[in-house]
């Protein structure tokens, strides 16, 4: 049982990392959002599995939150937005897919190295999970860095949050406060982002962050 549970958790976490990679090479927003939905789905699954393993019922709640908000609500909403903004066909990457992937590999390796330093008596499950979570976080950050478009940056940010949730659930018996705060923050984040997008919409013709950057505090 132990071994199996471990393998499944491992599998789920690993596939989460994989999906993060998939995100990295989506250059169309539509596809990106879909992949993100998948990402959230996997997250929900792994959280649920953790709930089952640690038989911590409150984690199921987290799983549901993840499922509903991240896998369903947010992607659809973002779909709407990008359609309305008419940028759903936009192709935008700063760093080419190849280099991005290479960087991603490097990051995963790095997170492994860093995490496997952890002494073993912190139980292996947590250790593996943490390694994966860290790489998910880093990949999310990498994505934010390599994308030019506000929506995809938000997506990157949220996949980063997924990494956090993964880590949090991996941490055995972590009080509920964390998950709630995560969900809470993500919610707030999303609302604020929404507000901003609309505000920005009112003023600029695009949500391209560069357009924002054109209005610097100190133009010559």
């Amino acid at each position: 049982m132990r071994g199996l549970s471990f393998d499944i958790a491992h599998l789920l976490a690993g596939s989460l990392v994989l999906v993060s990679f998939m995100q990295l090479y989506q250059d169309r927003l539509y596809a990106l959002l879909n992949v993100y939905a998948l990402h959230a789905l996997l997250l929900a699954a792994s959280v649920a599995w953790q709930a089952f393993v640690q038989d911590a019922p409150h984690l199921y709640l987290t799983a549901v939150i993840a499922l509903l908000f991240k896998a369903v609500v947010i992607p659809t909403a973002l779909h709407r937005i990008i359609v309305r903004l008419g940028i759903h066909r936009q192709i935008e990457t700063v760093v080419g897919v190849g280099p991005a992937m290479l960087l991603g590999m490097g990051l995963v390796a790095l997170s492994m190295v860093v995490m496997l330093r952890v002494t073993a008596e912190a139980d292996p499950l947590a250790r593996e999970d943490l390694a994966f979570a860290l790489s998910v976080v880093l990949l999310g950050l990498l994505m934010m860095v390599t994308r030019r478009n506000a929506v995809s940056q938000v997506v990157g940010f949220m996949s980063l949050e997924n990494g956090l949730v993964l880590a949090a659930t991996g941490a055995k018996g972590m009080p509920l406060v964390v998950e709630i705060s995560v969900a809470f923050s993500v919610l707030i984040a999303f609302i604020v982002v929404g507000i901003f997008l609309f505000r920005i919409r009112e003023r600029f013709d695009t949500v391209d962050v560069q357009a924002l950057d054109r209005f610097r505090g100190e133009r010559r």
């Binding site: 790095l110 330093r117 962050v209 950057d213």
Partner: protein, 669 residues
């Protein structure tokens, strides 16, 4: 009790500041503030004098201020007593001067509040007995004087002067801070007594000394840290210029003496090499710079640089003798330096007052626009002349005495064992002699062009004699110059306790030698008697006058000056300051200042005037200061890009930082 009383005086001065603010622009503020500060500084001066003269040890005072676990410690020993005398004498004189001068100040609300605080700060530096309160007072002094420098802030030149000044002051303070940091150690024993107790290792002491030279030197105006001085001193109102030049530079000297002679313990022989070299270069560079000026106040400021150099030469010799424990010689050299501190503070204040009086009467600082003032303001001219003679180190006035003592000290130096000094000291002596001669030349120019000849502008033509207060201040200082010149023994004896505390012994007791002669070592060696020389000169002069007037003719007729047959030469044909300096400029300036004379002569028949422009370059500024500014600009320009990045780039920075740190972790262990 002395310390307490002095602190009360300082407190009174500090309170005067807010009162001055309350007065604002009202004319009464002038009288009140300057009157009060005159009284206070006079009292402080007298008290300090008493402390200096009865060699009693005054108990220190610790107030619950400053660093909480240390408190603000105040103490007066012979050294600080002497400098307190200098400071408060200058303070009293300039307050008296300002009683008249300040009335014509057009923005008193920018001068009055800072002035007493400035005096108080200088007193506090002398009093403070721990590193923290020393530095606080030191920097407070710079701050208040900065406020005074930019009092006339509408002139961008003054603002720039203030800016440079404040930066240099901050630099100096930081240097001193590091020095004290080294002395105090990691656990921060900032009390001077604790510092005296801790005997730093040789390297540490060397580093501290260098920092002290840099820190105190940047305030004293030691070349090449002098750049701010000729900018800031003239910018301030004249009585403040007098204080800055005559007194504040002495405070800096005090800081150096305190560290090098007192806190650091026994010196290494090569320290004196550094100090001597610095002093010699400063002296000669200062006077050469001064010769190139035609702004009266700036010329005086550069002479301050020169005299600081002379003082440092004295101090350097004292260090050398102390290091090879020759206490008698050390006492002589130190006395020479300190006596020059006093003398310079007197005649430099006097000269700045004179410049201020001229400035008030004509609204001009540029000598090229002055001339013939001796007719319009005879008394100012006379007392200014006294100052000129004194600063040119001519007998029988006081400037000569201290330089004479310095020469005597140099003549003792062959007994020094170390080779470096054997070569350095004569060279420094030559520099000293050279700078003395050049100083005389420079003041012939300053006095001659400003006060003699014919007025070059209407402003100069209808100047009026300055007010009685200013004259009183100037005549007081002039008299002091004479007294210190003809009765130097008294002053030398007054310095005895200082030298005894710093180098262990003092010069032979002077007062009571027959005819009040000054005898540094032994009469067979050398002696000087200002009094007799003065009497001889006056006597023989008056005898000659009397004899001639009585026996030969005393008839006198006024006639036009000899004009080579060209009638009525315009005042423009007189020698100007720059043309007067031309021979010297050709001799020294061509290499040191890249001096070039560009003369454009119009073709025959053209009506355009011929003109000759002199182009000088301050190599020190070009070499030391300009590059720093350029670098800061460059760095600022380059880094400024970071203000204009896109969010994504900023995120990249964060990301980079994260990855970097993780890598560090991965590699660490």
């Amino acid at each position: 009790m002395m310390v307490e009383y002095t602190l009360y005086g300082v407190a009174a001065l500090l309170i005067l500041g807010p009162i001055a603010v309350a007065f604002g622009t009202s004319p009464r503020g002038n009288g009140v503030v300057y009157g009060a500060s005159l009284i206070v500084s006079l009292t402080l001066c007298i008290m300090a004098l008493l402390t200096l003269l009865d060699h009693a040890v005054v108990p220190g005072v610790t107030l619950p201020l400053g660093l909480p676990w240390l408190g603000a410690r105040f103490r007066i020993d012979a050294l600080s007593a002497f400098f307190l005398v200098v400071v408060n004498l200058g303070g009293a004189a300039s307050s008296l001067f300002a009683l008249g001068y300040g009335r014509r100040e057009h923005s008193p609300e920018r001068v009055l509040p800072f002035y007493p605080a400035y005096l108080a700060a200088m007193n506090l530096v002398m009093l403070s007995d721990d590193a923290f309160s020393f530095l606080v007072s030191w920097e407070f002094m710079s701050l208040t004087s900065w406020g005074l420098v930019i009092a006339h802030h509408r002139d961008p030149e003054n603002l720039r002067a203030g800016y440079v000044y404040l930066l240099m002051a901050g630099f100096g303070t930081m240097a001193l801070l590091l020095a004290f940091g080294l002395l105090a150690g990691a656990d921060g024993n900032y009390g001077f007594d604790a510092i005296r107790g801790s005997h730093p290792s040789a390297n540490l002491a060397a580093l501290v000394l260098v920092l002290a030279i840099v820190g105190a030197g940047s305030k004293a105006g030691v070349v090449p840290l002098h750049a701010w001085l000729p900018l800031a001193h003239p910018a301030a109102p004249s009585h403040v210029s007098a204080l800055m030049s005559g007194v504040m530079t002495k405070v800096a000297v005090y800081g150096f003496v305190r560290i090098a002679f007192d806190l650091l313990g026994s010196p290494a022989w090569w320290w004196s090499m550094v100090v001597l070299a610095v002093g010699g270069i400063t002296a000669i560079m200062g006077v050469l710079y001064a010769l190139m000026q035609h702004d009266l106040k700036r010329l005086l400021a550069f002479h301050t640089v020169e005299n600081i150099g002379i003082i440092y030469i004295g101090l350097g010799l004292a260090l050398a003798f102390k290091a090879h424990d020759m206490p008698v010689a050390a006492a002589l050299a130190l006395t020479a330096g300190l006596l020059h501190v006093f003398n310079h503070s007197v005649f430099k204040s006097l000269l700045f007052f004179g410049a201020g009086a001229v400035l008030n009467a004509t609204g001009e600082r540029d000598m090229e626009h002055l001339g013939g003032l001796i007719h319009r303001m005879p008394q100012t001219a006379f007392v200014f002349l006294v100052g000129c003679v004194a600063i040119s180190a001519l007998p029988p006035l006081n400037g000569f005495v201290s330089e004479w003592l310095t020469f005597q000290a140099i003549l003792l130096s062959p007994q020094l064992p170390s080779w470096g000094l054997k070569f350095l000291v004569p060279a420094v002596g030559a520099l000293l002699a050279l700078s003395a001669a050049l100083a005389a030349a420079c003041f012939v120019k300053a006095f001659g062009v400003t006060f003699l000849g014919r007025p070059r502008t209407p402003a100069a033509a209808d100047a009026v004699e300055t007010d009685s207060n200013s004259l009183a201040a100037m005549f007081f200082l002039g008299a002091l110059c004479l007294v210190a010149g003809i009765l130097p023994g008294i002053f030398i004896d007054a310095l005895a306790p200082v030298t005894r505390t710093l180098v262990g012994t003092n010069m032979p007791h002077q007062v009571g030698l027959d005819w009040l002669t000054v005898v540094p070592i032994a009469e067979s060696r050398s002696s000087y008697n200002g009094l007799l020389v003065f009497i001889f000169v006056t006597m023989s002069g008056s005898i000659a006058a009397f004899a001639i007037h009585r026996l030969a003719s005393d008839k006198l007729r006024r006639g036009p000056a000899w004009d080579c047959g060209y009638p009525d030469l315009s005042p423009a044909t007189q020698y100007t300051a720059s043309s007067f300096a031309q021979p010297i400029r050709r001799v020294y300036g061509t290499t040191l200042f890249r001096a070039r004379e560009i003369g454009e002569m119009p073709p025959p028949g053209a009506t355009t005037p011929a003109r000759l422009t002199v182009d000088l370059r301050d190599l020190i500024w070009d070499a030391a200061y300009a590059p720093i500014g350029a670098f800061v600009n460059f760095a600022a320009e380059r880094l400024n890009v970071l203000q204009f990045l896109t969010i994504r780039r900023y995120l990249t920075l964060v990301f980079g930082a994260l990855v970097l740190l993780l890598l560090v972790l991965a590699i660490w262990q």
